[in-house]
Symmetry: C2
Subunit: 339 residues, 2 copies
DNA sequence: GTGAAAGCGCTAACAG
DNA sequence: CTGTTAGCGCTTTCAC
């Protein structure tokens, strides 16, 4: 491992001068710069970022913490954020929060965060106590639906409004028995599924319709396979179901397979709407109608907020933003007004 | 920022004792341990991992470098690796290599690697010069199809054999005009697409059949949309096509949508096989027949090799492994022997 | 334009 | 069981 001192010795300068060359500081004469560069090449020197970070206090790196790396949605989000963060001269790294065992997470994982200049945390699957333990000095932007301490910047999707939009569209397209796949009733968890279930209810009541609690199908929305099995069984048991609002696109993909298993056509027999606007949705069956949660908007604002909080002086007041949701109509629903 | 010294002062011990408590070393009396722990809580102390790493030389972290975070395949791989690495007491972070601009990548990104105890590099989209510049001291396992310096451990998929399996299955199921979607002829790039095209050829010649170079459809395999458009156009232009071997599942999903656009049924009119065994494939159309590249096997071996190389003394000889590919039969193909 | 000194926060190695 | 000393590789600060 060659250090700055080896280079300095070979180039016959001080370590400080080498440091200046490495950091492309202007106050070095061309002649010495050449000598130093030559020495660096000869010794195959590479800067030690750990040491630099310890001394300078910054790493040029931002972390994105997601519950699972294999959720397609987070893959899309990560890619978008990596591009946006990279454009501002920083690096993004992605970590999965749910991998480590409980104990680890609380203690070590928290310390890990402080190795970064800032962090973007998906609070899904993160305990509130953990979030609260984050020191105020670390620039953090929170992502997700849980109620969080107000001192943090927070960007969330329009879960309720989006779900209202989705369900409303189904009702306006003539559906009367809209099952919510991956729904969740009551305040068990105040998470994403609960919020989307609320939107589903609101769409009904706004039209003077009552919801049937038996239409809440509480399968794990992330597992397409579970949605598939549950939906197939449900529509067979209750033939009156004429539409599905699935709380995620992944659930919707499973659900559409389940409908095929049960011999139902989409959208003729049963209409389907998802949520997330995954790129792949356009190519599933007749095309999956879905809710675009406003990812571009989210990414743009997350990066803006984080950048602001990493600057000095950081803003004092935290912002709490809600991204605008938008209906993306495709073939899995009929056209509004048509029955 | 409270340090170990603040804690030491409050607890009236030396910094070393605090360090021992933090690291759960046994040689501390219960009484002092209590005092130290109390002080830590009172001051809200958290260890600085950067400093620890500089001093101890290890970070407990392994990096996975992928070309794009939004490729579903890499999401699956990342999740599996995170679990496997976590089980051995380390942490996985994922970085996207193609985000940063050229210059950055060569210089800074390389230095970044050395912040980790080890790295798993997907060489897709990585220049050979860059790979070569990696110092021998960093434990690295390479992933992917490019020819790489033999000094590295290297785990690859059976691209050729897998593609042969896929194409062979189509031929055995009665297909005679098998188009390869996302294929690539000639030694332009010796990457994954080329290898899979080779397997496609080999399956033909093994059966005494000639390949028609016009059946190589060179769309970007990752973009489902491109595969969709290209396939739809191709099967309309050439009605003799009776099967598609798609170089990735994502391409296959797009291709199946393209077939639907063109009014072809799967598998009656045209059979389809993909490659990657994405979880979602089971729920697309009649179920996507695909090649399982042996992800479990890959993950297991990658972690084993990396762990070995991080140990001391590290092994001297590099291993070069090829994962066994396996055909996963689903509804997008007919049964072998049936015409 | 260049260098010397100091120290970021922590732990290895050795004493006691 | 506890403490002292030294220093990881770099950059900040100040001096020349």
């Amino acid at each position: 491992m060659t250090t700055i001192r080896d280079v300095a010795r070979l180039a016959e300068v001080s370590t400080m001068t080498v440091s200046r060359v490495v950091n492309a500081r202007p106050q070095v004469s061309p002649a010495t710069r050449e000598r130093v560069l030559a020495a660096m090449v000869e010794l195959d020197y590479h800067v030690d970022l750990t040491a630099r970070q310890l001394r300078s206090g910054s790493s040029g790196t931002v972390a994105l913490i997601v519950p699972r790396l294999d959720h397609v949605y987070f893959g899309q989000l990560g890619a978008q954020l990596a591009d946006a963060v990279g454009k501002r001269g920083r690096h993004l790294v992605v970590e999965q929060s749910s991998a480590s065992r409980e104990g680890e997470l609380a203690a070590l994982s928290l310390a890990r965060l402080h190795m970064y200049d800032g962090a973007i945390l998906s609070v899904v699957g993160l305990g509130n106590t953990e979030v609260n333990r984050i020191r105020a000095t670390l620039p953090v932007v929170l992502l997700g639906e849980k109620p969080v301490p107000r001192r943090f910047d927070h960007v969330m999707m329009s879960n309720v409004a989006g779900a209202r939009l989705a369900t409303g569209h189904l009702l306006d397209c003539g559906a009367r028995r809209v099952m919510i796949v991956g729904g969740e009733f009551g305040p068990v968890s105040r998470g994403m599924r609960f919020a989307r279930t609320t939107g589903w209810e609101e769409a009904h009541s706004a039209r003077g319709l009552a919801v049937d609690p038996r239409l809440v199908l509480s399968s794990d929305p992330i597992k397409a396979q579970m949605a598939r099995t549950a939906v197939s069984r449900a529509v067979t048991r209750d033939p009156s179901i004429d539409a599905l609002f699935c709380v995620t696109d992944e659930a919707a993909i499973g659900a559409m397979a389940g409908l095929a298993d049960a011999g139902r056509r989409v959208p003729e027999d049963i209409q389907v709407v998802g949520f997330d606007n995954l790129a792949i949705g356009a190519h599933i069956g007749p095309g999956l109608t879905t809710i675009d949660p406003g990812n571009d908007w989210i990414v743009e604002n997350v990066v803006r907020l984080l950048e602001a909080r990493m600057s000095s002086p950081p803003p004092t007041a935290a912002e709490h933003l809600v991204a605008p949701a938008r209906l993306v109509e495709r073939g899995s629903t009929k056209r509004a007004g048509v029955r």
